[in-house]
Symmetry: C2
Subunit: 288 residues, 2 copies
């Protein structure tokens, strides 16, 4: 069995059907050193119990997934969303503190799409900026970095009105890099003709909170949310993107987050094995 | 029945199952003044006969669809693709000459995706530039404008390694605007946070060969190629994009090209009626 790269982290979305316990066990059994959990599973297990399991495991905590979904106009939906993000910030702080040295208190933010019936992309993007401004003081107080994640433009209407790294960086620019950063995910950004320039900018501005890797392959599945492939199984040029991230001085964990029905239908140990192999072949050769 | 806007053109892809004769009849019966045909149907009817039908109809010819697919590496596949594009240029010249005053000899180019097994986006994009350079003299001799069309990034691997208007403009910049222009299609570009700046650039550089409108709605169908909706049925802000195109001084036809199985399963006369209505409501108010 391939020895996992020391910077490989498994995001729990890859192991969709696992509890926190099962995810931790699958990851540690393979010799992987880091993990990122999802809120629902953490809440199912309990935050304190999840933190205890992370501490006992000796794993680094790489990211907490996820907050965001705050493009609604002023009103109760927006208030609820912002409150929920404050709780997510709290969870991030607790879990990252429980992780081994090198853990990051980074909360990944998928900002949300257009509100129902709206065509106002510009307004929705302004509300993202506003939401970040409202959350930043709490994040700062908790020592948590908000990690704005631009999503592939095919999700622009229903999941993320942020589609490019420059958009995320333009919002982040108003804040301390320790408080607001960005998530660089290959599947969302690989098509961008300026992606290496934008990654360099993200690095120069000290904003890279997380580097996530998964692959793109067509035809996409009927549900395009589940289009993610093991690194190396698709067409993404991981060498160029990974070298660009490394060149910024990023030394953090590299997460694999695979939303894919076939992978979810595979036993976790096998998924972890395939992830380690794909990462070793497609990504590890380009890590510092 | 709504009177069609004088600048509305129907692209034959909207009436997928029609012959050239049927498409012309459906469009003229509704009082529409312009049409764009597809190569396969023109070849089925015969080029000279198609030109005769266009001339007899009194319609303007708005675009010829489509050329491109020239990202293959050097070799017989590439030679065949370039030869085929030269024939498409010839067809464009003949059909536009047969159209009424205001016709455009514009050949829409969908450039193609990554060659099988390749991860080299940069190389594929360079081969697009090379192909345009090889075709430009023939286009110029025939009085045809090559209309590079950036496609939505969800097609970056399998249909178009050009994803943004700036990429298309950067390639076009080496050539006379009368020979190489760009196609602005709302469904491909609406998500781009810089789309109005890029449209302004396209106008300033004299490159807008065609403006195409169709709408975006989620969830996308299982085959994302068929995701196009009647203008007004989705979330695209046609006001902003149309005003941006108008502000450049573009006075040409505005084409509706709908690839959508449900629309293809609807009788052509009804499709034309719905197109006229959608256009009138969502696009026409922002024209000139």
């Amino acid at each position: 069995m391939t020895t996992p790269h020391p910077r490989l982290s498994i995001n729990q979305a890859t192991l969709q059907r696992t509890t926190v316990r099962e995810a931790i066990d699958a990851v540690t059994a393979a010799g992987i050193q880091a993990i990122g959990l999802w809120r629902q599973q953490v809440q199912d297990a309990g935050l304190d119990e999840s933190a205890r399991m992370i501490a006992d495991s000796g794993l680094r905590y790489s990211t907490h997934c996820r907050g965001g979904w705050f493009t609604a106009e002023e009103g109760p939906v927006r208030v609820t969303a912002l409150d929920d993000n404050r709780r997510a910030i709290d969870e991030t702080a607790v879990l990252a503190a429980a992780g081994a040295e090198g853990s990051r208190a980074a909360l990944v933010l998928v900002v949300g799409g257009l509100p129902e019936g709206s065509r106002d992309l510009v307004g929705a993007r302004e509300r993202v900026r506003d939401a970040v401004a409202r959350l930043a003081p709490h994040a700062e107080a908790q020592g948590v970095q908000l990690a704005l994640e631009p999503l592939h433009p095919m999700y622009a209407s229903d999941r993320s009105v942020l589609s490019t790294l420059d958009q995320a960086l333009d919002i982040a620019a108003d804040f301390d890099p320790a408080v607001v950063g960005v998530t660089v995910d290959t599947i969302h950004l690989w098509w961008d003709p300026e992606v290496t320039r934008k990654i360099a900018r993200a690095g120069r501005e000290g904003r890279i909170a997380s580097y996530q890797v998964c692959d793109w392959k067509t035809p996409l599945p009927a549900d395009n949310l589940l289009a993610r492939q093991y690194p190396g199984d698709g067409v993404i040029d991981f060498e160029t993107m990974t070298r660009a991230v490394e060149a910024t001085g990023y030394t953090g964990d590299v997460e694999v987050e695979l939303l894919n029905q076939e992978i979810w239908d595979t036993p976790p140990a096998e998924v972890v094995r395939r992830t380690v192999e794909g990462f070793q072949r497609a990504v590890a050769p380009f890590l510092g």
